[in-house]
């Protein structure tokens, strides 16, 4: 049989205003009901993975940090881990640390996660008798948690309960014309129905600050966007690189992008025409106000979407020119492309193909297909990369050196 990409979700006539999720005590709704094994430090990674391999329907989040970090840098790791534990896609959480991770202990992380009302347990490898006993303890607790989690049923909830993550990657000239436009259409529908969307990627805002500032409900938010871009440029300049001097890049210009405005305006299409209601730092939890929220994240796809997941997004549209394998282990990640070549080459991980925009299909037609996919994936349909265990995009951003 020939390999078929299909065009993703089947298009329905009327937009669905509800989806099926797992309501949480704090009012959030999960698109998944995973048991999360959250590693507090790199030396607990293997124990987390060992437990996750044993327990069906569990996800391990591991990383190389949590040790020998200082000040705001360890705080950033801590907040990221807490944010993932609080993300509604985690039905219950086991946090595992190794010995005593200053500023990032399993107890402290679990304490913050418990505020959501979900069940959370902390395991310390040393105190619990070493790698094997800690594994056994976590496995036994996790099994009981999963007995409860798998007895819960999805309920019909409003689109207003959705925090839709937005990110693009391997952008090219097709991005602003096709998949980012379709994403923007979806953003508008979600916000019109009382939901929220989360735009990120500060690097892709350079040259588009005016446009974003004009969308802000308060001038102070617009000023924060300007400042955010300026600070990013300064951080990069401190490393001896002038980002403005390299934008658009040689590749971008060869691909037809003439100015930094043109490049950023293409990326900003994902925002649609929704009002910007808040601007937040990396990995901070988004407030509940309906509208578009903006997060300060780097262009690094994995770090950017990790920030978005910590912010509370249950589902993310990853809008890509080159096609992509990127997938967050906890937040459902839908990859879409309008580039015909990429749709073919990366069909294995492309969930929605919007190449018909270049054949004259209106943005709304493609947008509806992406919207339907968002609703279906939020309601339990697995994305291609989720099925394939492409768990490649949990990456914690750093702002300090190791000591």
């Amino acid at each position: 049989m020939a390999r078929r990409n299909g065009r993703g979700a089947s298009s329905s006539k009327r937009l669905r205003k509800t989806w099926w999720g797992y309501p949480r005590e704090n009012g959030d709704v999960g698109a998944r009901n995973y048991l999360l094994l959250l590693s507090g430090t790199l030396y607990a990674n293997s124990t987390c993975e060992r437990v996750a391999r044993t327990l069906r329907h569990s996800v391990a989040l591991t990383h190389p940090l949590g040790r020998c970090q200082i000040g705001p840098d360890i705080q950033r790791t801590f907040e990221t881990l807490v944010g993932h534990g609080q993300n509604a896609n985690a039905g219950a959480v086991i946090v595992i640390d190794h010995h005593r991770e200053e500023g990032c202990t399993a107890d402290e992380i679990a304490h913050e996660i418990a505020k959501t009302g979900k069940r959370v347990e902390a395991i310390n490898i040393r105190e619990d008798g070493g790698a094997i006993d800690a594994t056994a303890k976590a496995t036994r607790i996790g099994m009981e948690m999963l007995r409860e989690l798998t007895n819960e049923r999805r309920q019909e909830v409003s689109v207003s309960k959705l925090l839709l993550g937005l990110n693009c990657g391997t952008s090219d000239t097709t991005s602003g014309l096709s998949h980012n436009k379709a994403t923007g259409w979806v953003t508008d529908q979600v916000v019109k129905l009382g939901g929220r969307a989360l735009l990120a990627e500060t690097t892709e805002m350079m040259g588009g600050e005016d446009v974003l500032a004009a969308k802000c409900v308060r001038p102070a938010l617009g000023k924060r966007i300007w400042k955010m871009v300026e600070e990013m440029e300064e951080r990069i300049l401190a490393c001896g690189v002038d980002l403005r001097g390299s934008q658009p890049t040689g590749d971008n210009m060869e691909g037809g992008l003439t100015t930094i405005e043109e490049k950023s305006l293409g990326a900003i299409q994902k925002a649609g025409s929704a009002p910007i209601v808040d601007v937040i730092p990396w990995a901070k939890r988004a407030n509940r106000r309906s509208g578009l929220h903006v997060m300060d994240t780097p262009g690094h796809g994995g770090e950017s979407i990790t920030g978005i997941a910590a912010g509370g997004s249950q589902v993310l549209i990853f809008s890509t020119g080159g096609g992509h394998t990127i997938n967050h282990p906890l937040m459902s990640t839908i990859r879409i492309t309008g580039n015909p070549l990429s749709a073919r080459l990366q069909a294995d991980t492309t969930d929605v193909d919007v190449t018909d925009i270049f054949e004259g299909a209106p943005i709304e037609v493609a947008g509806r297909r992406v919207y339907d996919e968002v609703i279906e994936v939020a309601s339990g349909k697995m994305t291609k990369a989720e099925i394939l265990h492409e768990d490649n995009a949990f990456a914690i951003n750093r702002n300090g050196p190791s000591v």
Binding site: D172, T173, T174, G176, L177, K181, M206, G207, V211, D242, R244, G245, S246, Q247, P248, M253, G255, G256, T258, T259, I260, E261, E262, L265, G266, Q269, F358, G360, A361, P362, I363
Partner: protein, 97 residues
Amino acid sequence: MPVTAMIIEERDNVATCLEKVAKGGSVRLMLNGKMGKTLKANQAIPYIHKICIKPLKKGEHCMKYGLSIGVASKDIKVGDYIHVHNIESARGRGDLA
């Protein structure tokens, strides 16, 4: 066969050519999926690069997405190839920064 060039917003003065265009080649404009008039390309235009669809005087804004992507550095005629040689960023030139 004319090459299709996509206009994003009605007030744009550029369109993106969906295939490369030879000098003198014809370009058919498309807006919201509807085919419109046909232009002649005054120069060759590479794959997914832009063509001018409304005349631009030096200093006028070049519009794409209904928004300014820069300023014309010289007068530009309908059918002209639009890129770094005749449009400059209003936010600072990357190569001159």
